[in-house]
């Protein structure tokens, strides 16, 4: 078991390398340097620009710059932002909680809605419920998240004035405290969480349904029924436990999707998370921040997969005892 986890961790190294090299390479494929942006040109004299290029080694070939970046990374130094000279790690650390809060809430929502939905539609295959959930699933796969976000903003934010449409807290947050502040953030969370969960929910409930359909055809379920167990016990104790196993892995695999989706709707909802930071960094050619965001995003993905693997191994004795 420990050897298995060890092998998994070793596999992460080439992946992180690959992702950072690709990001670095693409950034340097483009003609022009970050110092060529009009914003930079208009505010800074050519002397300072030369100094800036020298400090960051922007005149060297990309692989030299990459090796330098790696050297700094080995000291956990992600460099400083071109834009405001703040340490990249600090910038990301400032944005990470908002992204984690959003993603954990939506993972939780996906889980508590998708599992019962999938199980019920498998048990009552071809019923009205199954059909309706099928429609929801297809809608979830097909809807553009940014459009869903816009529509919900129009309906709940502008027409009904029920929910705030941007940011993580109200401007007047300093005047309120304790429970009121938590409630305020919760209100801001509703729309972004719903939008980000909707797509994942579709995939997950379909997956649960598929698994459940396979499991209830197994011999041990027939045995459980033949023993005269209550249907509830057969479903929950015998079928569900086996059907849910692969879900752990799927949850882990859904993390890049959640983070990737964040780049759009964090921008729409003005959510102060990593996705928006990444988007802003790309738009202003802030190399160190882009590298930081992609490295951390890849790391989060791998960590998610790793946790999923451990959980899977823990839950499935066939793997645990190998």
């Amino acid at each position: 078991m420990i050897a298995y986890l060890y092998r998994r961790i070793l596999m992460f190294i080439p992946i992180i390398f690959g992702i950072t090299i690709i990001t670095f390479f693409i950034m340097h494929l483009s003609p022009g340097k970050p110092t060529d942006t009009t914003e930079f040109q208009s505010k800074v004299s050519s002397e300072i620009r030369q100094k800036f290029i020298a400090i960051y080694g922007l005149d060297k070939p990309w692989y030299v710059q990459y090796v330098n970046w790696l050297k700094r990374l080995s000291r956990l130094d992600f460099g400083r932002s071109f834009k405001d000279d703040a340490p990249v790690l600090q910038k990301i650390a400032g944005r990470l909680p908002a992204t984690l809060l959003l993603n954990l809430c939506s993972l939780f929502l996906i889980f508590i809605v998708a599992v019962p939905m999938g199980v019920l539609s498998a048990l009552k295959k071809d019923s009205v419920f199954d059909r309706i959930s099928g429609v929801v699933v297809f809608a979830g796969f097909s809807v553009p998240t940014f459009w869903l976000a816009l529509i919900l903003m129009i309906v709940f934010g502008i027409k009904l004035r029920l929910l705030p449409i941007s940011g993580i807290r109200s401007v007047s947050i300093d005047e309120i405290s304790g429970i009121a502040a938590i409630l305020d953030t919760a209100k801001h969370l509703v729309l972004p969480v719903f939008v980000s969960a909707f797509t994942g929910l579709a995939g997950m409930s379909r997956y649960v349904r598929q698994n459940m359909l396979e499991v209830i055809r197994q011999d041990y379920i027939r045995t459980a029924r033949a023993k005269g167990l209550k249907e509830k016990d057969v479903v929950i104790k015998h079928a569900l436990r086996n059907a849910l196993l692969p879900i752990v892995t799927v949850m882990g695999l859904s993390i890049p999707g959640l983070i990737g989706g964040g780049f759009i709707f964090e921008t729409i909802f003005a959510w102060p998370g990593m996705g928006r930071l990444g988007y802003e960094a790309i738009m202003s050619r802030d190399y160190p921040v882009i590298m930081g965001v992609s490295t951390i995003a890849a790391f989060l993905t791998l960590a998610g997969n790793f946790i999923a693997d451990i959980t899977y191994a823990y839950l499935d004795p066939r793997i645990r005892h190998r």
Binding site: P14, I15, I19, I26, M27, V143, P144, W147, G260, A297
Partner: protein
């Protein structure tokens, strides 16, 4: 065999529905100049931001352009991006999948690690970086979506190849000294056509979603060329006064992607009744 598939396909209501919409959209894309009531880029400043009416069934935008015509022309963009991106995805994914599954050993390991890398990337971030650092235009969008979406298909093809290559007729082809390329494309490929067809169909929907997302962020198709994504962006600024600018283009994306998903899932049911 084909007749059996065709019979099953005809009974699948979802697939037929999806196919009809896809055909309608292709027609709209091909015949946009004939179908649209007005010139999509003709500005009419006296009719700015008018709601839906008989003259302008979907209303007009901030420059007084007819939204219905712009939406019809938008189908051209979405369809061409969808199909060309998927063509690239299928070419790369299938070739690498065939090679990976057939050759095994080191080549297989390298290709599978590459798949892991691309899968661990939040794809949209990669696409954003490429587009922002190259030039945001429709050609780059097609290419980038194509080269970031192949890993899933590659894995699928590889898995199929692994099971096919042990069969006796492949062994026979090998022993008789056929060149590897011929074995791969003539003898193995036909066995994996079904999953490729399904993922290609679903892939078109996905490519259209990504393109509209990019255009929405201002990194895809550039105005004044109408794309559903960039119509939505300009609509966003008028969200308080002009709901139609946000609702209709999004609805167009939604219905299109839905149609491709229904068709794709329908094809899966038809081609692979085990699921």
């Amino acid at each position: 065999m084909l007749r059996i598939y065709f019979g099953r396909f005809r009974k699948n209501k979802n697939a037929i529905f999806g196919l009809s919409i896809v055909l309608l959209l292709l027609m709209a894309a091909a015949l946009s100049p004939l179908l649209s009531p007005a010139n999509p880029s003709e500005q009419n400043l006296t009719e700015r931001i008018n709601g839906p009416s008989i003259r302008h069934p979907l209303g007009t935008d901030d420059l007084g352009r007819d939204l219905l015509s712009r939406t019809i022309y938008g189908a051209r963009i979405s369809m061409s991006v969808g199909f060309i991106a998927v063509f690239l995805m299928v070419t790369i994914g299938t070739t690498l999948g065939l090679i990976s599954g057939y050759s095994g050993k080191t080549v297989d390991t390298i290709i599978m690690r590459l798949v892991d890398i691309v899968l661990c990337f939040p794809t949209f971030f990669l696409v954003l970086i490429v587009i922002a650092f190259l030039e945001p235009n429709i050609h780059n969008v097609m290419v980038v979506i194509g080269i970031t979406s192949w890993p899933g298909l590659c894995r699928l093809v590889r898995a199929e190849v692994l099971s096919v290559k042990e069969r006796t007729y492949i062994q026979a082809a090998k022993v008789s000294g056929l060149p590897t390329a011929r074995i791969l494309f003539v003898h193995i490929l036909p066995n994996v056509i079904a999953p490729i067809l399904v993922s290609a169909t679903l892939g078109v929907g996905n490519a259209i979603l990504v393109e509209s997302g990019l255009s929405f962020l201002g990194l895809g198709v550039q105005p004044p060329t109408p794309s559903w994504g960039n119509i939505l962006t300009s609509g966003k600024d008028y969200i308080h006064v002009a709901w139609w600018l946000s609702v209709f283009p999004g609805l167009a994306i939604f219905i299109t992607v839905l149609a491709f998903n229904l068709l794709g899932e329908g094809l899966r049911d038809v081609l692979d009744p085990r699921m």
